[in-house]
Symmetry: C4
Subunit: 233 residues, 4 copies
């Protein structure tokens, strides 16, 4: 479990260094699928003071199994996502400015460009608004459920982030580090989409065939981007 | 009083390092409630050259009681707030860009998201415009009075900042450091609200029940955020 | 003249460190009024490589009197301003983003806030567009003349900057360092005015009595800002 | 060829340090015209870990002639440009935010100011959208071809960049370092044009005679900017 703590701690530091989080906001978690144990940032602890041993270990029901600190208050949201999306290994949550502007305005981020298509196989979706009853009881858990509901006909593998209405983005990937990387790119996508919509309010999204090409170039069996596994770096 | 000077000096440095202030603009103060003494930044001194002993001590009427430098020209505004809001221990004033855009446009910042709801129990209010007479005599004192007037039916405890029309934000908290923290978050809130209003000009504020949930999560008796007092950090 | 070169070199470095200039763009000059000699940045030399001895000395007609490098191509604009505005001691020119947005859109910057009123006694003016003949011959000199023409009924002492239409800002002050300081504040003013105009397109400028109050607070005989001359710092 | 690798490596580092690229996005190449060999960034390698020997050498058909890593997936676009524009010596490609906003909105960048006119002899053009067939086969090569098509009646010497619709900018120059410099200035131009269009949506471009003056001041036989060759720096 020391390794899980190290990975999660490092990913939290990467998030902090990316400039996407203010003060103690935001959190990154990772999961050890074999044991069903999640490592997550402790609540309200400054990033720069956090040590690997401060990472809190919880089970898939969110019960603390190791660690002297309270886990992030968003822990039930994370655990719900790990249960619903069996292929993901890390989750990052921030209030990064441009993604949050879209989340607050309750508008999805249309795919206007190839950077978006490289990572997302379609627009970045927004959840529906939670009801008063859902907020009143098990709010954080229901935040997870409403994300899962939004993905009823979407694949979390090819749409690796969501905007929670009135809140902010959750992003995920195969590892905590990849979840942070998705969040960094998501913020860039949101920023350029924001300006694109101002410059050309009538713009329709990128042609499907170009979206498909870019997505497959990085993700499909014919992927041509990067270095093949085993090649020298 | 050496401790008050240290706290105020440190909070002024934190404000400078946050990037929210240009040149010598802005100021932070703190109060020793037992003695009724305020420590405040000297006027026009560069932040990076300031030393703890440069912090000027004044009484609640704004009279200098210790220090060889002139206190900030905004001192009468600070002292008026300390008199009206007995629970606050520190005040920070900046011309941070996004909060100032709202202050200059004389529009309150609506609550569009959970970051806002975590800190403010409603929109960030704007003062009314000062009259010519109020500007002509005791301008800085009247700036304080018009803030207090705006809070006639608001609680400074749950709305820890205000936008002075045509000027900029004043933020407060239990300590000088907390006032700076509020100002940093306020700037983030103003920035995301600005973009939200562009993306969705017809948007209504966050549902009351969600605002309430987030505010209580951090402030109410059932607060679940952060580490309990006395717990190890 | 070594002292003039040092002052001008230092102010150019300050401009570079402020982040307002890209690559080799922009320039700062200073004048020794007693001798009628201007020191100015050499053309196209990277800021971080510049040495005090690289500063070029020219007379009020723009003829090089000392220095092995070509002076900034904007030198005739600077010398024209020094001739027309006898009280200024330094000039800074940049293409800083927000001031340039206003210059390019050929709109003056209205006074919407107290930061503006602290420094400018009214809106920041824009020059008229140069005619084809004025551009064709002695373009840089005519840029200076059209600025001076714009100030026919304005005082350069209380309006320490101008936006050259389709180009960018020129700012000035009692010294090269003060000219840089004006440019830094001008960029902040332009940025907040830009956002203010988006949030409230119908907004009228700040009340005259508030503009007057702020301007006099920093500049009038009853100035209360900063530390009195001779006081310890 | 060691020298080509050094130049290309250094220009890639300069691009990274300019802040215009995120993570491993973007790439810079250079060409040795005498041998017909292109040096280009390897695909997906982090900038800060790249070493000069990682630069991949390819011929004008894009075949790897030296290097153990895969070249950038955009290599066929680069080689197509080197074949069509015989005077260029370096190419830089980024997804820099403001240039990308224009590329995604499929709007050219009008010339609104002298910074633009100093570098570009007219608006920065946008390519037409690729057809489904062009995307389906030899996509990256066709990206190069559609750029060349856009320049049928333009000179790459005086318009040193293009916006690929729905993608981002490609910039070029006499060397890899100059291509990076063009990209940095292009981003500044796009940023100020963006704001100019918001402040003044009806604005027409800069007068032709002023555009001509600025372009010739830096590029024509009567160029007066900078230091003459052979002069001390």
């Amino acid at each position: 479990m020391t390794e899980l703590k190290e990975f999660v701690w490092k990913a939290n530091l990467d998030l902090f260094r990316s400039g996407l989080v203010l003060l103690t906001f935001g959190n990154v978690s990772g999961i050890d699928r074999r044991r069903g144990i999640i490592g997550i940032k402790p609540s309200g602890v400054p990033y720069e003071e956090m040590k690997p041993e401060d990472i809190v270990l919880v089970d898939l029901e969110g019960r603390v199994v190791e660690g002297g600190l309270n886990p992030s208050s968003d822990t039930p949201t994370h655990s719900e996502l790990y249960k619903a999306f069996p292929d993901i290994g890390g989750i990052a949550h921030t209030h990064s400015p441009y993604a949050t502007k879209f989340a607050q305005s309750r508008r999805e981020i249309p795919c206007f460009g190839t950077t978006h298509a490289d990572l997302f196989h379609g627009p970045v979706p927004v959840t529906r608004q939670l009801t008063e009853a859902e907020v009143g009881r098990s709010y954080e858990l229901n935040t997870g459920k409403v994300i899962v509901e939004r993905f009823a006909e979407l694949s979390a593998l090819v749409i690796p982030a969501v905007l929670v209405a009135g809140h902010g983005p959750f992003a995920w990937g195969q590892s905590p580090g990849e979840a942070v990387r998705v969040n960094i790119i998501l913020e860039h996508i949101a920023k350029t989409a924001f300006g694109t919509m101002i410059l050309n309010p009538e713009l329709v999204p990128l042609e499907d065939y170009l979206l498909e090409k870019h997505f497959q170039r990085k993700h499909g069996p014919q992927a041509t981007y990067g270095q093949k596994k085993g090649e020298p770096r």
